[in-house]
């Protein structure tokens, strides 16, 4: 899990102003449920999951998410965005242990 918190965000290459575009994001994270046992020690592995996601387009927060333990390991999310301005799109992921991971891509509609 050396890569924990690594984020990949994909937006379409050629965008026209006003297009509603899909934003696909994946973040590397174990998303431990707290219900899984360590195979050696038989102890429960503590919960460790992303519970808060925020998406900023320029200075506006456009999407915010609350996740429980049941979002799959290495979470993957698709949502849409109305590309009406050239601005950075920033995603911030926070987990229940207080770690925060973020990534920014540029949205440049023509």
């Amino acid at each position: 899990m050396a890569e924990i918190g690594k984020i990949m965000i994909k937006v379409p290459g050629a965008i026209k102003k006003g297009d509603v575009i899909p934003v696909k994001a994946m973040v590397v994270h174990p998303m431990e449920t707290g219900q899984r046992k360590d195979s050696k020690t038989q102890n429960l592995i503590p919960e460790h999951y992303i519970n808060d996601v925020k998406v900023y387009y320029g200075s506006d927060m456009v999407t915010s998410m609350e996740w429980g333990i049941a979002v799959s390991t290495n979470p993957f999310i698709t949502f849409y965005l109305k590309a009406d301005k050239a601005a950075p799109l920033k995603m911030v992921f926070k987990d229940n242990k207080g770690a925060s991971f973020e990534q920014t891509v540029q949205v440049n509609p023509q």
């Binding site: 899984r36 999310i77 698709t78 949502f79 965005l81 109305k82």
Partner: protein, 161 residues
């Protein structure tokens, strides 16, 4: 005195029998119902919805839910929720909730949208403990609730193990 001993012996056997059965059941259950832990309790979907939405009526319609009929791996079940409701400045889909009813805690995710999203659609991958309904609830900025649900057959559960 003799009678008392007899009785207590009988009582003892009865009690031991019951205890053995209980132990056997407790021992056998985790095998079938892995990963249910004795201490954890299943939250009923009705209670989960009530906690979030109170007694508000949840209508059907306006929510399209795309899930597989059979999920071989319960740890990675693709879910897409789409709503045809407007995404205008004063009238938009404010929240999309995803539930997996068979999970100990049915709540999976809440996605808060704004009119800047332009389209009320999300896709993600979720964990399902066992065969159950996946339910999507859509909440509009005006406070209306809509839902849809579909059963997903899960071959191998994906929460514990």
């Amino acid at each position: 005195m003799r009678e008392n001993i007899k009785l207590s012996r009988r009582g003892f056997i009865k009690a031991t029998g019951a205890a053995c059965t209980a132990v056997l059941m407790a021992g056998a259950l985790p095998g079938f119902l892995k990963p249910v832990m004795a201490a954890e309790e299943q939250i009923d979907i009705k209670d989960a919805l009530k906690k979030l939405f109170g007694d508000k009526k949840i209508e059907t319609g306006h929510v399209d839910l795309d899930v597989p009929i059979i999920a071989e791996n319960g740890a990675v079940v693709p879910v897409t929720v789409t709503s045809d409701l407007p995404m205008a400045a004063g009238d938009y889909v404010k929240n999309i909730y995803v539930f997996s009813e068979g999970n100990l805690n049915p709540f999976v995710a809440k996605v808060g949208l704004t009119s800047a999203n332009g389209k009320a659609e999300i896709a993600t991958r979720i964990k399902m403990r066992k065969t159950s309904n996946v339910r999507a609830v859509v909440e509009t900025s005006k406070g209306n609730l809509y839902q849809n649900m579909k059963e997903v057959k899960v071959t191998v559960g994906g929460c514990g193990g």
